[in-house]
Symmetry: C2
Subunit: 348 residues, 2 copies
DNA sequence: TTGAAAGCGTTACCAA
DNA sequence: TTGGTAACGCTTTCAA
C-alpha cells in the first residue's frame, strides 16, 4: 500500500540534491536583477520599498536565505568572533562563555570556539584561528598562551583578553580589579579579628594570581596581620584546593585562608571540615574569588569577591561590536570593579 | 624623541593595510601559476614534490595562509560544525562540549556555537545556523527545541542529537541507555535493602527524564519495592534538587531517592543533611545520573550512573567526520552504555 | 532606484 | 605534472 505523501510545504521547485536556492535563481524567478535581491536583504540599501517587499515575501515563500559564506568573501567580514578557551572545568568560564556568546549573538555575531588543549602543539591548534578570518578574537584563557604566541595567532586581527593582563601587547585587556578585590578580602579578615592568615595560589605565574596575591599580602602587611603561610596549589581545581588547605593547617595555626579562586576555596573548605577537623568559620575563616554559582549554595556559603561578569561581557561586546579596529590601534587595559560578597565562611 | 622601531620580522613586503597576501600574489612572486599554489596546500594534489617544497617554503617565509572563506565558497564545505547548546550551567555540558570541540579540532573541524536562550525568539536565533552553511549540526540541548524546529533549523544538513531521542526525524540520535541506567539504580537500591523509594524528575517532558523515570519505576515495581513519591523539580538545577528533596521527605518516610541527574541529587543531598536532618546514607540513600566531576568530590561522593562521554564524543566525531551524508540518509538511534558508579551516598 | 558587471580568493576542470 | 579559466554566491561600483 502506498504510503501517503505528506508534502512538506514544497512551495517551489523541489530541492533535488540539497543545493540551496541562490540569489540569482530567485532573481530570475521574479524577473528582477540579482543585485535587487542582495539589496532587499541589506538594511539601508538603496531599494524601493515595494520591490523589497516583493522580494522578501517571495524569498520567505521559497525559503531562500543569503549564503553567508559568499557574503563573507565579498565583504571580507565574517561576523564570526574567535573565542579562545582552554579550561571549561572551572565553572566560571562556562558561565562567562554562555553570557558572552549570547550577547554576541544578539548583535549578529557568532562564536567560533578554539579550545586549546595544554601540552599539545599550540601553533598547530592556532593555525585554524588564523585561517578562518574571524573579525576579532576574544581570549578567555588565563594561562597556556604566551603573549608572543597570541600575537602570532591573532596576526593583526583585533583581539581582546579577558581576565588576564599583558602589557605592551597590541591587544586590549579586560579584567576585574584583582588586587583591590584581594585587598578587600584582607580587610574583611581584619575586621573579623583574624590575625594569622594564609594565601593559596592557583597557578602562581598567572597574572590573576600575581595580582590577587600582591593585593592580599600587601594589605595584610599594612594592617599588621601575620602571613602565616602560602601554598601554591599548582592548578585551579577542587582537588588542589583540598591539598593546599590540609598542608596549610598542618602544624601551623591559622585564622583565615584566602584562596586564589572559588574552586580552590570550595575544595579547601570541604577538606578543612571533613579531614582537617576544623569548624568554618569558627576555627578558621575561608574566602575565595570569582563568585561562581556554587559559592552561593547553602552548603558552601562562601565569602568571595564577585567578578562583574555582566560588565565584562557588556564592555567586550561593545568593543568587539563597534570599533573593532580601535582594539588594534589603541589597545587599552580596562579594569572593572567587582564586589565583596560576605557569606558564612567568614561570619556566623 | 623618535621612538625606536622594533621591526617585527617584516620578512617581506610590508602589510600596509592589513590585507593578507593572496595565492595569486604569491604565485606571481614565484613565477608559478596560482593553481600550483593551491595544489601545494592541498594534500594529495597532483604536484611535483620540488615545486610544492618551493611554494610551501616561500609561503612560510612571507607568512601566507590560504583564505579559508574563499575555500569554503568554492568547495562548498566549511569545516565548521554548528553546536547548538542551551544550558551550560549543568557541568555535564561544558565537560561534553570541551571534549567534543577538541576532538573535532583534531580532525580539522571547528565548532561554531549557537547558544539558544530560552524564552526568546527561537527562529531568529536559529536563522544564523541556516546561513552559515555548517557541514553538520550537533545538538546538545536536552530541551527547548522541538523536533520540528530542529528540522527547520538544520534544513537538510546532517544533524545529530546528543542526549535526546526523537523518533521519526531525519537526524541521528545518540544517548546513553537511560532506562537501563535507571534500572541499575533501582536494583542497587534493592540490593542495599531499600524498600520505599522516590523519584525526582528534572524537566518531566524531556526524553532523558522520561526514559530514566520509566526505567526506574518499572524496575522498582518488578522488584516489589514501593514508590513512595515522585517529585517534578521543574528544572535540572541544584536549587530545584533541594526543594524536591525537602518536599519528598515531608511526612512520608523514604529509604532512597533517585534524582534525574547529579546536579539535582547534589542539591537534594545538601538539603537532606542540612535542612532535612537526615543522615545520608544511614537514614536515606541518594543516587544521581551523569557522573559529573562534583559527584566524585569527597564531600558528595555520590552514587550515580556514569554517562560514557568519551564514547559519545568518539561516535559523534566519527559520524560527523566521515560520512556526513549518511547521517541524513540513514538516521539511526545509537545507545551507548554507561555504568553504575557506587559511592558513599548509597553505602557506608 | 535599478541592472550589468567586476571583483572577493579559492577550487576544479580542461588542455597542453 | 602544469597553467589557464570557469565557477562558487554574494557585494559593490558604475551607468542608465
Amino acid at each position: 500500500m502506498a504510503k501517503e505523501i505528506s508534502k512538506p510545504q514544497a512551495t517551489s521547485a523541489d530541492t533535488g540534491g540539497r543545493r540551496a536556492t541562490t540569489a540569482r535563481e530567485l532573481a530570475k524567478m521574479l524577473g528582477v536583477s540579482q543585485s535587487a535581491v542582495s539589496r532587499a536583504f541589506t538594511p539601508g540599501a538603496s531599494i524601493a520599498a515595494p520591490l523589497r517587499e516583493r522580494i522578501l515575501k517571495f524569498a520567505a515563500e521559497i525559503d531562500y536565505q543569503p549564503n553567508a559564506i559568499a557574503s563573507m568573501l565579498s565583504k571580507s567580514r565574517t561576523n564570526i568572533i574567535g573565542i579562545v578557551v582552554s579550561d571549561m572545568r572551572n565553572p566560571f568560564y562556562p558561565a562567562l562563555i554562555e553570557r558572552l556568546s549570547r550577547a554576541l549573538q544578539r548583535i549578529g555575531l557568532q562564536s567560533l570556539l578554539f579550545n586549546i588543549a595544554p601540552g599539545t602543539n599550540l601553533e598547530e591548534q592556532l593555525t585554524a584561528l588564523r585561517r578562518y578570518n574571524v573579525d576579532a578574537v576574544i581570549v578567555i584563557s588565563a594561562t597556556i598562551l604566551s603573549g608572543q604566541t597570541l600575537s602570532w595567532a591573532t596576526e593583526g586581527r583585533p583581539a581582546i583578553l579577558i581576565n588576564r593582563v599583558i602589557e605592551d601587547i597590541n591587544m586590549s585587556c579586560i579584567a576585574c580589579n584583582n588586587s583591590e578585590g584581594a585587598s578587600a578580602i584582607a580587610e574583611h579578615f581584619y575586621e573579623r579579628g583574624h590575625k594569622r592568615v594564609a594565601y593559596v595560589a592557583g597557578l602562581s605565574h598567572t597574572t590573576t594570581n600575581r595580582e590577587r596575591q600582591y593585593g592580599f599580602i600587601t594589605r595584610v602587611a599594612e594592617l599588621g596581620m601575620t602571613l602565616t603561610s602560602q601554598a601554591d596549589a599548582g592548578e585551579y581545581s577542587y582537588e588542589a584546593g583540598r591539598r593546599a588547605a590540609l598542608e596549610i593547617i598542618k602544624g601551623k595555626s591559622v585564622d583565615a585562608i584566602f584562596f586564589a579562586n572559588d574552586l580552590l576555596a570550595i575544595g579547601g573548605l570541604d577538606a578543612l571540615r571533613e579531614e582537617g577537623g576544623c569548624r568554618v568559620p569558627e576555627d578558621i575563616a575561608v574566602a575565595g574569588f570569582d563568585d561562581i554559582a556554587m559559592a552561593a549554595w547553602p552548603h558552601y556559603n562562601l565569602t568571595t569577591f564577585s567578578q562583574p561578569i555582566d560588565d565584562i561581557v557588556r564592555v567586550v561586546v561593545e568593543k568587539v561590536g563597534s570599533n573593532t579596529m580601535q582594539l588594534l590601534e589603541q589597545p587599552e587595559i580596562i579594569r572593572l570593579s567587582g564586589e565583596l560578597v560576605k557569606r558564612k565562611t567568614t561570619g556566623l
